[in-house]
Amino acid sequence: MERDILIETVDLKKVYGEGEGQVIALDGINLQIDNGEFVAIMGPSGSGKSTLMNILGCMDRPTEGKYILAGEDVSEYDRTDLAQIRGQFLGFVFQSYNLLPRMTALENVMMPMMYHRERRTTSEERLEKAVEVLQKVGLGERIDHLPSELSGGQQQRVAIARALINDPLVIFADEPTGNLDSRSGEELMELLDALHQSGKTIVMVTHDENIARHTERIIHILDGKLAYDRKNGHKPLGLVQSAPSEAGQTQAPDEVQISSEGEKS
């Protein structure tokens, strides 16, 4: 069967600064993510995983290399074009939820629809869609509450609803459980699992192996390079070009093993 590639990077590089103080954040990333995949990007802080996430999320542009999203090379797009790509094709979930504090849950969810230029909606249509999406994420009630009146788990559900509202091709989640207690975190991951089961492509940054366990593929970034890329609990994918680091080979499966046992006991 033909692969349905949604995200493809070719020798992606990102360099900050110039001359002596130059920092290479990404050093030639070649990556392909298929439609419908649930991918975790992992790596220690400073590894470049956030930079990669920002470029994949069209918040930033690569210094060199290509980023092809849904068959379109967006590497050279300007700020306005990138904003429209984000609004129409991408959804974002942040660690700190980033809900607007003066707006109700419902208004927060409706907000991205107002910036969608290709699909003009009336306020009734927006309301209907937002209620529907909020129910989908398990938040049928309390939709008229302000974020400050909701629990962390509920706020993150609102944020996921907001990410889903424009029917994105892919959802980027940056440490979505980072601010949640373990139970709410688990519930949230179940929600993301369910979204993935229904066909959504999800790319998630996390440093928590327990959370990464929910995905079907883990990409490890180290020093701006792809350390390894493997199907979760399965053999590494053949398309990894840079040699996997030894640490990555030995440690990561162990961690998965340990955390799985911990969960059972």
Partner: protein, 411 residues
Amino acid sequence: MNVIELIKVAFKSLTSNKLRSMLTMLGVIIGVAAVIMMIAISAGTEATISEAISGLGSNLLFITPAFERGGPQEGPANPRGGLVYSDVAAIRTQVSGVAGVSVEQQDSVTVKVGDTTINSVTMVGTTPDYTTVRNVQIGSGRFVNEQEVQYADKVVVLGSAIAQQLFPGTDPIGQSIYANNVNLTVIGVLAPKGLSAGTNFDNMIYVPINLVFRKFVPSQFARFLGDRVRTIFVSVDKNANMNDVILQISILLANRHNVSLDSPDFNINTQSDIIQTRESTTASFRSLLAWVAGVSLIVGGIGIMNIMLVSVTERTREIGLRQAVGATPGDIQIQFLSEALMLSLFGGIFGILAGVGGSMLFGSLSGMRTVIVPYSIALSFFSAALVGIFFGYIPAQKAAQLDPIEALRHE
């Protein structure tokens, strides 16, 4: 985002900090109110002037004495020179192109008929040409004639309002009234004229000028110089050349007063001179208000810019988030620009209310006439909008230039 959504978002953001928004608007409110009041006052002045022109007749000359002003060492004003009553007759008989010459000597008297007493009535001592010169109509009876002026006959012509008060429901002609205990016979009543050029002709009474000189206000130095008068009004014939008449009068009076034309002891002013004087008195007031308006609009605009810059900083995360979910730099710019615009426009609306109210209050307190002109409201609304756009631009630009990643990281 469409316009309604923009307005809603901007309104919500401004009402979330009402006190701050109100204070920010204050500068614009004062500026707009000043614009409206300035225009109301100048429109009122113009209306008064145009009424003065129609009220006085357009071909009027005013001759006034030019007193040398005495300094502290020189004692009181120089008593030499000035206009005398006989100048009036001289102008009428010796100058060609004159339709009428009148002179006034006023006094304030208490008028009494039976039980009715009216205090502080202006009594105008004048000549028969008064009706021509001041453009007043006789309602019934007649005005004072040449002979009555000459012999200082005790006759009086009543203003219409005074006539109503003294003789309600009866014909005043032939009746007698007391003015400061001088018995006068009513020979005529003026037609109602109303307030004209600041003078209410209906509330005055009119008598032969010599009667005033003899019985009420004797002019100073009358024995040496003849009866002194304050202003001689000359109505110029419509077909005559105004400048020619002025020159004739100047030569005549210079000869009569024995002064040179280079340093005359009198001034001749035309209607347009009077208008200019009036305008210059209001002009300084108007320019002051124009400065107040301009400066407050600028200060108000800077206030708006300041608050918008604070708002951009405070809401950096919100800007980052909006950008993340699809707001283009243009969307962000429009959002902040519309908030600035809304601040200034609401300031404009409150300013218009304050300006209209202030104009009315000022009009009733100062006695100056104010007229609210519709275009002034449009003008001030427009200038408020301009202030909002101009001073909102930099903050909006700053918001639009924010990098979404940096903005989302902002604490």
